[in-house]
């Protein structure tokens, strides 16, 4: 009974991480339209082929496709013809005046309904702010609530990385805060066991920083470098505020390790590295808070990019993102407690 009271959070960490892995690798992405060819239409009749992802168009009778802007249906698709499971051809009759040149595509079938913002552009029209529904579309009720992960235009399958990349940084910050806290505690008591915790927390924090850098680098390579018009970099690293912050953090704590290694006497080592840890951590937090405010970032929540919660993180992702964050943080703390026990035993053996 006592051990359950003491160790329940480790079981919780295991359960949450298993749930995270299962959810993020097994749940399919939602069906949606990924591209249209041609994507720029002209006034009059246009035949467009829509290419979907995870869709099953074949033998589906109840398909309706429409173009809309500002919640008003403008053009209804006619002569819908299935080509294969992922392709469908449709005709759009574009009138000569529309409220916007950039249009959103809405589609509903018997299996799913999808909304692809800014997929279609209409050229040669005059922009006219008349906002009434131009046609009525009979939307089919897509059957039941299927559990799926949102399918965004740029992100595609990489959206699964959200459950790994973002929690790494959260965990790193929590672990580094623990290190900072125990450094203060060491300077108040000069008890070497607090220094062991501070030191091992930095090591684990660096591990999570490395994992965050690797997952982030892979993510950046497959999203930012291929699709953004604003950004022309093709590499694994882009010049972004958050990336610079991550690099600074990693450099500071590598420097902390080097400082420790260049000192010999145990208490001197503990004292001086605690001073540097506190000095560097406070300044790092201030910089991480200030820097994104003065420059733009590609990350959500900065420089005009929508933050989490606006529409990046819908309720399905929330269902697994928060458990993932808690699971990874608990795992980090678990690792730290193992390290602490190991080095305390080692200390004991040396002193005996």
């Amino acid at each position: 009974m006592n051990s359950i009271k003491k160790h329940w959070w480790k079981a919780l960490a295991v359960v949450l991480l298993l749930y995270t892995f299962a959810f993020s690798f097994l749940v399919p992405l939602s069906s949606t339209i990924k591209s249209a060819s041609p994507s720029s239409l002209e006034v009059g009749k246009n035949a467009v082929v829509l290419i979907g992802y995870n869709t099953e168009f074949e033998a589906d009778e109840n398909i309706s496709i429409s173009l809309e802007y500002d919640h008003k249906t403008l053009v209804c698709g006619t002569e819908i013809k299935q080509i294969n499971a992922n392709q469908i051809s449709v005709n759009f009759n574009i009138p000569d005046s529309l409220p916007s040149k950039i249009l959103h595509l809405r589609m509903s079938t018997s299996n799913f309904s999808s909304f692809s913002p800014e997929l279609i552009k209409a050229f040669g029209i005059t922009e006219n702010q008349d906002t009434s529904n131009l046609c009525i579309v009979n939307a089919y009720n897509s059957s039941a609530d299927i559990l799926d992960i949102p399918n965004r235009l740029q992100l595609n399958e990489t959206i699964r990385n959200l459950m790994f990349h973002v929690p790494m940084w959260f965990t790193m910050m929590v672990i580094l805060f623990i290190s900072f806290f125990y450094s203060i505690k060491y300077l108040n008591t000069f008890d070497i066991k607090y220094d062991i915790i501070a030191r091992e927390a930095v090591n684990i924090g660096l591990l999570f920083a490395a994992l965050g850098l690797i997952t982030g680098s892979i993510w950046a390579k497959f999203t930012w470098s291929e699709h953004t018009d604003l950004f022309t970099t093709k590499g694994w690293w882009v010049n972004d505020v958050k990336l610079n912050g991550a690099a600074i953090t990693t450099l500071i704590y590598v420097a902390y390790r080097i400082l420790r290694n260049s000192l010999q006497e145990e208490h001197q080592k503990a004292k001086i590295s605690a001073v540097y840890n506190i000095f560097a951590f406070v300044l790092m937090i201030v910089f991480l808070m200030i820097l994104p405010r003065i420059t733009d970032s590609l990350h959500p929540g900065n420089g005009g990019n929508p933050a989490f919660g606006k529409y990046d993180l819908d309720s399905t992702l929330r269902m697994v993102f928060y458990p993932a964050v808690i699971g990874w943080i608990l795992l980090g703390i678990w690792m730290l407690s193992l390290k602490k026990r190991f080095f305390n035993l080692e200390n004991k053996l040396e002193n005996d």
Binding site: L187, N244, I248, L251, I252, A255, I258, L259, S262, L263, Q268, K271, I272, A274, V275, Y276, I278, F279, A280, V282, L283, M284, V286, F287, I290, L291, R293, I294, T295
Partner: protein, 222 residues
């Protein structure tokens, strides 16, 4: 008493500087020769932002060189003598103020030498008053960080190498702020436009001084 100790320390530092003129002249020579090497490789820099960035990099390295000696040239006998006489907090504040004055002097010298050797177009709109504020605020945060970190680094054997790896990651953000701020001054910005830079840099400087003030006594007598 506390202020008296700081004033005394400042006088003491100045006296040592006057006695060992070779130190300050070696730093000035370092700055001049670095800028001369740059001028040989560039002569004219078309873009003002590159010109400005180069200037800040030269400042960073020359200040690192100048301040790295602030805790090094005190041998252990003299340290014991100082420890018995004065408050550690007075010592660190004295060192920070002295290094600040030294670095402002060095930065002004390097600004004139840099302007003399390396030309750039597009300085017509430059707001010299604002640029001076940027340089003073930026070099304040560089010199105060370096003072505290050199106190840490002086405990190790490899002083200058450890100083740069410990200090540069902490310095990158305030250096970035200073570079952006001075770029704005070159483009002819006003004080109102750069209010957030002034506020952020002053806050960072204040924070560095407070942290040094709180933490330095723990480096004491090590």
């Amino acid at each position: 008493m506390f202020v008296k100790q700081i004033v005394h320390l400042l006088k003491h530092e100045l006296l040592i500087e006057m006695k060992q003129k070779h130190f300050i002249s070696s730093i000035v020579l370092y700055i001049v020769s670095t800028i001369f090497v740059c001028s040989l490789s560039f002569t004219t820099i078309a873009e003002t932002s590159i010109w400005n960035g180069l200037f800040w990099i030269i400042i960073l390295f020359s200040l690192t060189n100048a301040i790295s000696k602030s805790f090094l040239n005190e041998n252990s006998d003299k340290q014991i003598f100082l420890y018995t006489l004065i408050n550690p907090r007075a010592l660190i504040l004295g060192k920070i103020i002295y290094n600040l004055l030294l670095s402002i002097a060095l930065v002004l010298i390097s600004f004139f030498v840099f302007n003399f050797f390396i030309q750039t177009e597009g300085l017509d709109n430059m707001n010299y008053g604002l640029y001076l504020i940027a340089v003073v605020l930026g070099s304040t945060s560089i010199s105060s960080t370096l003072t505290m970190v050199s106190a840490i680094a002086s405990k190790t054997n490899n002083n200058i190498g450890i100083l740069s790896i410990l200090a540069f990651p902490i310095l990158i953000p305030s250096l970035l702020l200073s570079i952006q701020f001075s770029n704005l001054a070159i483009l002819g910005g006003t004080v109102e436009m750069s209010a957030q830079f002034i506020v952020f840099l002053s806050l960072i400087n204040l924070l560095i001084v407070i942290l040094s003030f709180l933490l330095f006594p723990y480096l004491w007598r090590e």
